[in-house]
């Protein structure tokens, strides 16, 4: 078992006075690949934002590589769920990706090395040919790939992905999970997704989030866990997951 990269104890989060997360406890070890599923509004995005220091917890301890979030968040790469950009903003794909190097940049401008890292990140998501394209001229799926490239260009130790395959086509999605598996050799991954079948066959461990985190050190997804989080399996059908992926009783999904 590797060393602990994320430690969370007794985490409570309130947004506008409403408790969104309560009593979350989690330890993630180096080179883990954690999948998080859960219903809409379950607090998955909020949870990632806490790790990134964008949301301050009401209570509890959050440590990244043994330090408070503020100190170590430069070790995190983040692919947000929604890309809310001003389409008229004059900026190229390459400029967006190289901006990931801001925390590492030495001089006033980015170095050739920074541009090389940005190019190889674009290469990995098959967007290198569009590097000079304006951000506002991309399709939704292409934009999402650029966001993945931007997160990779951070060269993070831990990569947080919030539904990165929500608007990419299925061909890219399949390749994308392979890419994640490859990246997992270099870094720790946390993936939020509604795509339970894909997640459960790629991640090493699986957790459900609905106000709190239901977590077991395995990727065994039992019915009890699902029902605790989703409350009702109908939700799963609404998410496009056929009922039969669920084991009849306490079985195992995935391989």
């Amino acid at each position: 078992m590797g060393k602990k990269v994320i430690e969370i104890e007794n985490l409570f989060v309130e947004l506008d006075g409403i408790t969104v997360l309560e009593n979350v406890n989690l330890t993630v070890n180096e080179y883990d690949f954690l999948g998080i599923i859960g219903p809409n509004g379950g607090g998955k995005t909020t949870f990632l934002r806490v790790l990134l220091g964008l949301v301050k917890p009401a209570r509890g301890k959050v440590r990244i590589m043994g330090n408070p979030v503020e100190k170590n968040r430069h070790l995190l790469g983040y692919v947000p769920q929604y890309a809310v950009f001003d389409r008229s903003f004059p900026i190229s794909v390459e400029e967006v990706v190289v901006s990931a190097r801001l925390a590492r940049k030495q001089g006033i401008r980015f170095s050739n090395e920074d541009y090389r890292i940005a190019a190889s990140a674009l290469e990995r998501v098959e967007m290198l040919p569009l590097r000079s394209r304006q951000m506002g001229e991309l399709s939704g799926g292409e934009r999402q790939r650029v966001l993945v490239a931007r997160a990779l260009a951070v060269q993070p130790r831990i990569l947080l992905l919030d539904e990165p395959t929500a608007s990419v086509d299925s061909r890219f999605a399949a390749g994308f999970y392979e890419l994640l598996r490859e990246l997992n050799r270099e870094m720790t991954l946390i993936l939020v997704s509604h795509d339970i079948s894909a997640v459960s066959s790629y991640v090493k461990t699986l957790a459900c989030m609905n106000r709190t985190l239901y977590y077991e050190h395995s990727r065994e997804l039992n019915r009890e866990m699902i029902e605790n989080t989703y409350n009702c399996p109908v939700d799963l059908i609404a998410h496009g997951i056929p009922h039969r992926v669920l084991p009849p009783h306490d079985g195992v999904v995935g391989s």
Binding site: G53, E95, V96, S99, L102
Partner: protein
């Protein structure tokens, strides 16, 4: 050109150039960050400082600098709070600044006739010491934008990611508002408080339609600013019109033409 023989005309063209540089660079950020309203607020609070200058008998330009800086800091704090009433607070600060100015001016002893030149600009009668002041502010603006170009761009494009990357987003937002304050001061002499916001936003807005990067947008906005101020100046001289208002009308005409041309290209 014979009009260039006049000293005041050469000074006016120089001021037009200096103003265009400041508002082309900073106006670009104002437009892409959509902080036009905040900038309008900052520029109008300048009137309070001008009034204070009259009242206490020091250079009104210094008063304007002081007030715009204080209001930039205030707006920066308001901007940081994600409350929905942001625009209300900004509107109130805007009006309070103006009201202070009106009260100070009323209390001021003696002659306040050139007050109008602060409200509506008088690019033809900018004193030499003010030109020097404007030049210094311009250099400060250029140096800061040069130094923090990438940081400003990142914060303007995606504030959240900039924050995650470890940038002090609040610092850059406030620094930018301070630059807006300085730019406003630079522009007051040329077009006046009331018209500042038009010259600050029109050249970058046009440039934005034709640019693929912030650098190009700034460059084009500066060139357009120079064209508008020079043409406005010439027309105001030719037809004996108020210079500030003429410059704005020329810029607005340019804006409409640019939008029409763009539309034509796309259809």
């Amino acid at each position: 050109m014979e009009i260039l023989q006049f000293d005041f005309m050469r000074n006016a063209l120089l001021v037009g150039l200096l103003v265009s540089v400041a508002c082309g660079m900073i106006g670009t950020y104002v437009v892409v960050k959509r902080i036009v309203f905040i900038s309008g607020g900052i520029s109008h609070t300048a009137y309070g400082g001008i009034g204070l200058g009259y009242y206490l008998g020091f250079n009104p330009m210094l008063g304007a600098t002081l007030f715009t800086i204080v209001s930039a800091l205030g707006m920066g704090l308001v901007q940081q709070r994600s409350s929905q009433r942001q625009d209300t607070v900004i509107g109130v600060m805007w009006a309070v600044g103006m009201a202070l100015g009106i009260v100070f001016v009323k209390l001021s002893p003696g002659y306040t006739a050139d007050l109008m030149s602060y409200l509506f600009g008088s690019i033809l009668t900018v004193p030499e010491r003010d030109i020097l002041f404007i030049l210094l502010l311009d250099l400060l603006i250029i140096a800061t934008v040069y130094r923090y170009f990438e940081e400003f761009k990142a914060v303007a494009f995606d504030e959240e990611f900039a924050r995650v990357s470890g940038l002090k987003v609040e610092f850059y937002n406030i620094l930018l508002l301070l630059l807006v304050a300085l730019t406003v001061v630079v522009m007051i002499r040329a077009v006046g408080i009331i018209l500042v916001i038009a010259l600050l936003t029109i050249p970058p807005a046009i440039a934005g339609e034709y640019s693929r990067g912030l650098k190009g947008m700034m460059g084009l906005a500066v060139v357009l600013g120079i064209i508008f101020t020079t043409a406005g100046l010439y027309l105001s001289y030719l037809f004996d019109l108020p210079s500030g208002a003429t410059i704005i009308l020329v810029a607005a005409t340019g804006y409409i033409l640019a939008l029409l041309i763009k539309k034509k290209i796309h259809t």
